[in-house]
């Protein structure tokens, strides 16, 4: 009886303190909810699929809820559950259209994500054995094996090289509204856990943090390079995500207050930009029926508002003022140089690739003169969708102009 009570107490302890309302959590939770809301509106306005609508919205809801819950939690077990839910939702989303290739892609995505969560679970169990708790704030000792397993899980979830390969097939197949959520919410789960578990607690040995910093920036550079060579719109977005999430992880891995703030601002910049770009690409595909970058162009004549909004979102990813991406990049670069100047150089190389692939993307997408003759024959993109992309661009600008507010809010975050 006493043993049963003890076990019950332990289990209660494990599932206690599921939510923590600190500044980081509120910040990320609000962001994920915003992305979710915009994705819902976009889906309502653009979805043309006759069947499986319930599944569509269920998947979208699961992605958003799992993201928000993971952002607000410091309980590793609860975060694991969120990851599992997200993995399930992404699997359903990628296979949503039920085409042969999509189902194959969905399986790839599921296996990779499931492996990540299993690795993470083993890591959590090791931590539990060492610390008798799964609540991040109560951890006092780390374990090398646990670090390796959890970091591997994070790398899969947040598409860090070499465990990034599921993202391209996922992006190719996913419906654009859910794609926006995948880019804006789910891919951040890994780096958010890194922030919570390692950056905020400073429990990771410095050498390991340095190793992960290099891994992150190399991933970012290689992702950026691959994006420069990509010809398919969705493929380009996927490699761009690999590159940008690498930059976010760099911020968290180099750590310190400025690294963390840079990373968090980058999550915002990237989530707003990439979800907006996903919607934009979705609308372009709807209008033209094509997804090859070389077959689409002249968007600036087809829909100037959409073109300008997308250009602004590109600008945010590149890091142009007055978009929020500017401050994100600034803080990450400063934090990286503070660690070592070489990391700073690598960060600049990654930023250079970002400039190149984004300018190429804009150039091809907006100004390809060969495609301008097609414009009169095409219908206009969805007005609601265009407005939503514009809203995302506007939010990016407002956050960039009033940058002091988010930074001041994050300064009161949870760092040791």
């Amino acid at each position: 009886m006493a043993e049963d009570r003890c076990a019950e107490k332990e289990i209660r302890k494990m599932i206690s303190r599921n939510f923590t309302l600190d500044n980081y959590g509120i910040f990320l939770g609000t962001l994920f909810m915003l992305i979710g809301l915009i994705s819902f509106i976009y889906a309502l306005a653009t979805i043309r699929q006759k069947g499986h609508r319930l599944e569509y919205y269920l998947v979208l809801t699961l992605i958003v809820v799992s993201g928000v819950a993971a952002a607000l939690s410091k309980n590793l077990l609860f975060i694991y559950v969120c990851w599992e839910v997200a993995a399930f939702a992404v699997w359903r989303a990628v296979g949503f259209y039920r085409r042969g290739g999509d189902l194959q892609n969905a399986m790839t995505v599921f296996i990779m994500n499931f492996t990540a969560t299993v690795l993470m679970l083993v890591g959590i169990l090791i931590l539990y054995v060492r610390n008798a708790t799964v609540v991040i704030d109560e951890l006092s000792a780390m374990d090398t094996t646990a670090i390796v397993l959890i970091v591997l899980g994070i790398m899969v979830k947040s598409v860090i090289l070499p465990l990034h390969t599921w993202l391209v097939p996922a992006y190719r197949a996913i419906p654009s509204a859910i794609g926006g959520c995948l880019a804006g919410v789910t891919e951040n789960l890994g780096v958010v856990l890194f922030l919570r578990l390692f950056t905020s607690t400073a429990l990771m040995p410095p050498d390991a943090a340095m190793f992960i910093s290099w891994l992150a920036i190399i991933s970012s550079i290689i992702g950026g390079g691959a994006a420069l060579f990509a010809t398919n719109l969705r493929e380009l977005l996927a490699y761009s995500t690999i590159s940008q999430v690498g930059f976010i992880l760099l911020g968290f891995a180099v750590g310190g207050k400025y690294g963390a703030i840079g990373g968090l601002l980058f999550i915002v910049a990237h989530a707003l930009a990439k979800s907006g770009l996903f919607y934009g690409v979705g609308m372009i595909e709807d209008v033209t029926g094509k997804d090859d970058l070389r077959n689409i162009g002249c968007l600036v004549r087809l829909s100037p508002t959409l073109a300008i909004s997308m250009a602004l979102l590109f600008g945010s990813i590149v890091g142009f003022f007055p978009l929020i991406g500017f401050f994100a990049k600034l803080y990450v670069v400063f934090a990286a140089v503070e660690k070592t100047a070489y990391l700073g150089v690598a960060a600049i190389v990654s930023a250079a690739f970002t400039v190149l692939y984004n300018s190429r993307f804009s150039q091809e997408l907006f100004f390809n003169p060969k495609m301008c003759e097609l414009v009169p024959r095409l219908k206009r993109p969805s007005t609601t969708g265009t407005v939503l992309v514009f809203v995302l661009a506007l939010i990016s600008i407002m956050l960039g102009i009033f940058f002091y507010q988010p930074i001041a809010f994050l300064m009161g975050g949870s760092l040791p």
Binding site: V337, A341, V345
Partner: protein, 635 residues
């Protein structure tokens, strides 16, 4: 103190209103530009006697503050003057052009950001405004005469990447000193690896903006497709002001390059190569805007050369040349824009004899052309004269000083040669029949170029009294001592006497004894159009010189274009990353999947459903367990 914010906010707000309320566009823009000019002038006067410095916000770890000393004061004033004059010009030249509304907005935003750069007292704040300039440059370049997206794309890539290089330099300063404020007292010596690296990185950003070699190629590219007012505004004036301003700030208010011979040598070598390389390219151009754009690059070389000397007179000469260049270069672009406005072409072989039809444009252009060529008593001569003096003063310190002196002087001679060709091709010689009906450009277009050219005269003749005494000397943190002697007023008097004597000889000599006749070749009478001597091939012999022919060929093919190498290398890496690294990982996982599948198949093949086989497995398993237990020593 609030005036400092006004010069940033006024043009941007007025520009936005003008953009939104199209009916009142000119009114809003006029109010914005004029008020900015007025406030800038007030600030200029204020900074004569005091330094304005105050904090505007602290966003950890940065302390954003404005800082206006006499250097910033006079640059702010010139920003406003150029913006106002070029806006006036564009009012007519861009009238009814595609993207006109957006164009005016970009002009206003550019002025705001340019003022922001100059009034910043902190590198991070400076970088914010610097970044806005990339955005506005890209936008304004997109509004072209024809499809200008490639030029804009190229500028975005060069300036965008060099900005990140600059950011790295700023980050290094921050990490090492704990702040990014300037001026720094005492100045940081360039004797540590970190300080040298930081200085070079910031220098790259400044040089890309100013358009120095090897980061200049976006300027000639843009010149082919963007309107003259864009060329006059961005690469012609504002970009030079800002690039050289940042270079001077960094070189003499943050770091101290005077004791670093290596850095100074680098600056002077880049300066000399820029002067000669760009002017050689300019000489053989057959299109006026492109020709002018190479001169816009070449002139940066003089500024770098002056600053690189590290001697007060040279630095002052560099700074003076920056202002002079902005004056005559803008005037030249605007004048040529006026010609294009009327003739619809800038191809030199299609122009000629326009001096009669466009006399005011001719006057403005000629003065500016002589000024850029360094003809006394105009301003270009004076600033070059100061730079020459500084180079000669280096004789005890740098043995190769004659190389720099020859480069500077030879560059000046070639500039003159190049502008003689341009003058002849456009304004002198015989006029093509097609241009018979050409008239002088509109009043709003002629006046700005005339004002700029008149300033070239004033800044030359009254060099001591006006620019040097009131602008340059107060702006620099050291005393300027002249070693040579040049009296512009006396020289002007003598030159005027010389010209008068020449005129008298001309009038009493051959002026009225000319003979008009028909031109014939080999007995065949040629019509006037055919007999016209056009200018484009003036220096084709230079182009075909054995020693230079290959260099020109390489230059035209883009062999010296650093941009091609940079993008080529990055594209090479992109292919490597995509085709080898990414594909490699994919193949690795596919192989792994194959192994798992084959293993599964193997296991599957063992499950035949036959009872005896399963019993065999159980038996084998039992034996294996027994053996293991035996090896483990279990009794």
């Amino acid at each position: 103190v609030n005036e400092v914010s006004y010069i940033i906010l006024l043009p941007a707000i007025a520009g936005l209103f003008a953009y939104l309320i199209r009916r009142l566009r000119s009114e809003f823009n006029f109010i914005g530009f004029v008020l900015t000019l007025f406030v800038s002038f007030k600030l200029f006067l204020l900074t004569r006697t005091q330094v304005i410095s105050y904090s505007i916000a602290t966003v950890p770890p940065f302390n954003f503050r404005f800082y206006l000393d006499s250097l910033a004061g006079f640059i702010v004033l010139f920003n406003a003057i150029f913006a106002f004059l070029i806006w006036t010009y564009a009012l007519r030249s861009m009238s009814k052009a595609e993207g006109e509304n957006m164009y005016h907005l970009y002009l206003a935003l550019t002025l705001s950001a340019a003022n922001g750069v100059v009034v910043s007292g902190n590198f991070v704040l400076l970088f914010i405004f610097w970044n806005v300039l990339v955005f506005s440059l890209y936008g304004i370049l997109l509004i072209g005469k024809t499809d200008s997206s490639f030029a804009a794309y190229k500028a975005l890539k060069i300036i965008g990447i060099s900005d990140y290089v600059m950011l790295l330099g700023i980050a290094i300063i921050f990490v090492t000193t704990g702040h990014t404020d300037f001026p720094v007292d005492p100045r940081l010596p360039l004797d540590q690896p970190w300080s040298i690296v930081a200085y070079i990185l910031i220098m790259v950003g400044a040089m890309a903006k100013a358009g120095s070699m090897p980061l200049h190629t976006w300027i000639p590219e843009a010149s082919k497709v963007v309107p003259a007012s864009t060329m006059a505004y961005m690469p012609g004036s504002l970009d030079k002001l800002l690039g050289i301003y940042v270079l001077i700030r960094t070189s003499f208010f943050v770091f101290d390059i005077t004791h670093s011979i290596a850095i100074r040598l680098v600056l002077m070598i880049i300066g000399s190569v820029t002067i000669i390389g760009a002017v050689m390219m300019a000489m053989v151009q057959k299109e006026a805007m492109r020709l002018l754009s190479f001169h816009a690059v070449s002139q940066v070389g003089y500024m770098l050369l002056g600053i690189g000397t590290g001697i007060p007179v040279g630095i002052a000469g560099g700074l003076f040349h920056m202002i002079n260049n902005a004056l005559y270069k803008s005037s030249l672009f605007l004048s040529m824009g006026s010609v294009e406005y009327r003739t619809k072409t800038t191809q030199l072989d299609k122009l000629g004899g326009l001096g009669v039809k466009m006399p005011f444009t001719l006057v403005a252009f000629t003065i500016a052309a002589l000024a850029i060529s360094g003809i006394p008593p105009l301003n270009g001569f004076f600033s070059k004269w100061m730079i020459y003096q500084a180079i000669i003063d280096l004789s005890g310190e740098i043995p190769i000083w004659p190389v720099f002196l020859v480069a500077a002087m030879f560059g000046s001679v070639l500039t003159l040669a190049s502008f003689l060709k341009l003058l002849h091709s456009v304004f002198l010689g015989a006029m093509p029949q097609k241009l018979g009906r050409v008239r002088e450009a509109r009043f709003e277009m002629v006046v700005p170029s005339l004002i700029l050219s008149m300033l070239c005269v004033v800044f030359g003749i009254f060099a001591w009294q006006v620019p040097l005494a009131r602008l340059i000397k107060p702006a620099l943190p050291f005393a300027i001592t002249e070693t040579g002697a040049w009296f512009p007023l006396l020289a002007t008097g003598l030159i005027i006497i010389g010209i008068v004597i020449g005129l008298i000889i001309f009038l009493f000599g051959t002026a009225f004894r000319g003979r008009r006749d028909r031109v014939f070749v080999g007995g065949e009478i040629m019509d006037n159009e055919e007999a016209r001597i056009t200018g484009p091939d003036f220096y084709s012999s230079v182009h075909t010189m054995e020693i230079l022919e290959k260099s020109y060929q390489f230059g035209e093919e883009g062999t010296f274009d650093f941009y091609n190498y940079l993008t080529g290398i990055m594209h090479g890496f992109a292919v490597l990353f995509k085709k080898i690294v990414d594909r490699g990982f994919e193949l690795f996982y596919l192989s792994l999947a194959k192994i798992v599948r084959n293993f599964g198949k193997m296991i599957s093949s063992l499950h035949t459903g036959e009872l005896y086989l399963y019993l065999s497995w159980i038996l084998i398993g039992f034996i294996v367990i027994l053996l293991l237990l035996g090896f483990a020593g279990v009794n």
